[in-house]
């Protein structure tokens, strides 16, 4: 009946519904799915498997993810017990298919979030999130890039995939995460909380292609020098000073690192640690921006998103250093609380995409810039 209504009526009804209602409607039939696809066009950019909340979320760039469905297995966990006991109707079910397996789920609804919880047998607890994830990507017509947010202590429930596009990991055990990183392929960005564990300079963690390290209390100069990926962002380190920046820059200038594209350090505003711009440039043979040698705007090569109070890729008027061995230019920006190091592998990149935009809901009402498409 719904599918025979005029578009205006269909869309008006859909606007009153929640994402999980759209999801369930989308699995009813192909025609219903096409309706949801059409209705959802451009409303979300990506989906996230969140193992902190056991939710599959939909996300629009610049906004927090919205929960669509939860999953749970019959395996006993204290939080499962609460969810289990709050439901009295176990007559609703749904079937998913993943890797040739039929996963039958029972459905309950979360008492406060109102979203459905899909319960499966324990042996499918790693398959179910992937099955739901692919279904959501299909129904909401979004790119099936795999994004996962998880705490290493829940590794036994990690979704059944060894390829991930973007991942956010919380971990206090360095060995555990190193073992994990050896077994998965991360195609794009990794965000890591490593707590206060110590990291050796040959750790696989420093070989991540695009890495964002939150509160890296372990960070020392040797880690900057030994980073083997393309882009690194260190937020709130506690032991990095001006001399470490100088050593890192000189090491790059005298070395042969052809991979590094950008390295950024952001210090905590509430800590006393500061960078000394004058001291850095005293030690460098830096030259002002020459518009004939490089463009004014740096092009970031990753989809990792991070917010700044300024348009941080604008390098017009900044100071450059040159590596004698190959003539490669790098822009060095030093502020009290920020350090940017951008390497110009392509001196005049096409910056027509990935332009910054102002976040619609910024913290404390202050506009922030974020890179996105």
């Amino acid at each position: 009946m719904l599918l025979k209504l005029p578009y205006l009526a269909q869309f008006t009804i859909l606007k009153h519904l929640e994402l999980h209602d759209h999801f369930f409607l989308g699995v009813c039939s192909k025609r219903a799915r096409n309706l949801i696809k059409c209705f959802s066009r451009n409303k979300n950019d990506s989906s996230v498997i969140n193992l902190y909340s056991f939710c599959i979320q939909l996300q629009k760039t610049g906004f927090l993810g919205k929960d669509v469905v939860m999953w749970a297995s019959c395996y006993y966990r204290p939080e499962n017990e609460t969810l289990y006991r709050s439901n009295t109707n176990w007559n609703r079910s749904i079937i998913f298919w993943y890797k040739d397996k039929k996963i039958k789920c029972k459905i309950s609804f979360h008492s406060t979030k109102g979203i459905p919880i899909l319960w499966c047998k324990d042996k499918y607890k790693r398959m179910l999130p992937m099955a739901i994830y692919h279904s959501i990507c299909e129904i909401f017509s979004i790119s099936p890039i795999i994004q996962i947010k998880f705490e290493m202590s829940r590794l036994s429930e990690f979704p059944d995939t060894n390829e991930i596009d973007n991942v956010i990991i919380g971990c206090r055990d360095k060995d555990q995460i190193e073992e994990f990183l050896k077994n998965v392929i991360i195609r794009n960005a990794t965000q890591l909380w490593l707590g206060s564990c110590q990291l050796s300079v040959d750790s696989v963690i420093l070989s991540l292609e695009h890495a964002l390290f939150w509160s890296p209390k372990w960070l020392i100069k040797e880690h900057l020098i030994s980073f083997r990926g393309q882009t690194a962002l260190f937020v709130d380190p506690r032991t990095i000073g001006t001399d470490d920046l100088i050593d890192f820059i000189l090491h790059w200038q005298q070395g042969k690192n052809m991979k590094l594209e950008s390295l950024v350090i952001i210090l905590n505003d509430y800590e006393s640690l500061k960078f000394d711009k004058e001291k850095v440039f005293e030690k460098l043979d830096a030259k002002p921006w020459n518009p004939e040698r490089r463009a004014g705007r740096f092009k970031k090569s990753t989809a990792m998103r991070f917010s700044f109070l300024t348009d941080f890729l604008d390098c017009t008027g900044q100071m450059d250093i040159e590596r004698e061995s190959d003539g490669l230019l790098a822009t060095v920006i030093v502020r009290e609380k920020q350090f940017f190091f951008f390497v110009w592998h392509v001196p005049f990149p096409n910056t027509s995409v990935d332009q910054p935009f102002t976040l619609p809901h910024s913290l404390a009402g202050i506009p922030q810039f974020q890179i996105g498409q």
Binding site: M1, L2, L3, K4, L5, P6, L8, A9, T12, I13, L14, K15, H16, L17, E18, D21, F24, L25, V27, C28, S29, K30, R31, A32, R33, C74, Y75, Y76, N80, E81, Y84, R85, W90, R92, S93, I94, I95, F96, W97, Y98, K99, D100, K101, K102, I103, K104, C105, K106, I107, F109, G114, P116, W119, C120, K121, D122, A131, H134, S135, E138
Partner: protein
């Protein structure tokens, strides 16, 4: 929202006649037709609001007499309500309706959809929006199977959820095993 209805009754000069698809004629007060953008525009175009203009019956080929009866009931109830504005629509997932509306729309789904089509055809925004909200309230919080039943959707998908993966039964999985879900190991007594 509710309004006091004055006791004035319509006079023959301010009526028009509409004819349903099954040929039944309805006498409609011009005041009531203001709620229907379709009828209001028609009346304005043919100047039926003038007493000196001959008013031909208006055929409504898409609306049955039963639907017309129902619509007139709506129009009469909302006769003195303020004009509906586009920004009166609040997309919400909390569904509360006034008692009269709940009773008025306490009808089977198929009739509701026909009424929605009629409201769309006659462009009666308050009725249209109310039915959409009622329909949404009947869908929300339901499983796919329940939605299929409510909306009478016949599945055209081979798999319950399409993943593009060939179907192959898992011999070790028994549906009966999930018929009574229980946490394993069993949760301790609370």
């Amino acid at each position: 929202m509710s309004c006091e209805e004055p006791t004035t009754s319509p006079t023959p000069e301010n009526n028009i006649t509409v004819v349903s698809s099954d040929g039944k004629e309805f006498l409609l007060d011009l005041k009531l037709t203001e709620q229907s953008e379709t009828l209001a525009r028609l009346i304005s175009n043919f100047e039926y609001d003038r007493t000196d203009v001959k008013k031909d019956p208006v055929p409504l080929g898409n609306i049955t007499s039963a639907q017309m009866q129902k619509i007139i009931e709506w129009l009469q109830h909302h006769r003195y309500y303020p004009k509906w504005e586009q920004n009166d629509i609040h997309y919400s997932t909390s569904f509360t309706f006034e008692t009269w509306v709940e009773e008025y729309l306490n009808i089977p789904n198929n009739e509701m959809f026909e009424l929605l089509n009629a409201a769309n055809y006659l462009n009666i925004p308050r009725l249209f929006s109310t039915i959409c909200r009622i329909m949404a309230s009947r869908i929300t919080g339901k499983s796919a199977e329940q939605i299929r039943t409510v909306l009478n959707i016949k599945t055209d998908v081979k798999n319950d959820v399409y993943t593009g993966i060939p179907i192959q039964e898992d011999s070790s999985s028994s549906e009966d095993g999930m018929s009574e879900i229980s946490l394993s190991p069993s949760p301790p007594p609370i």
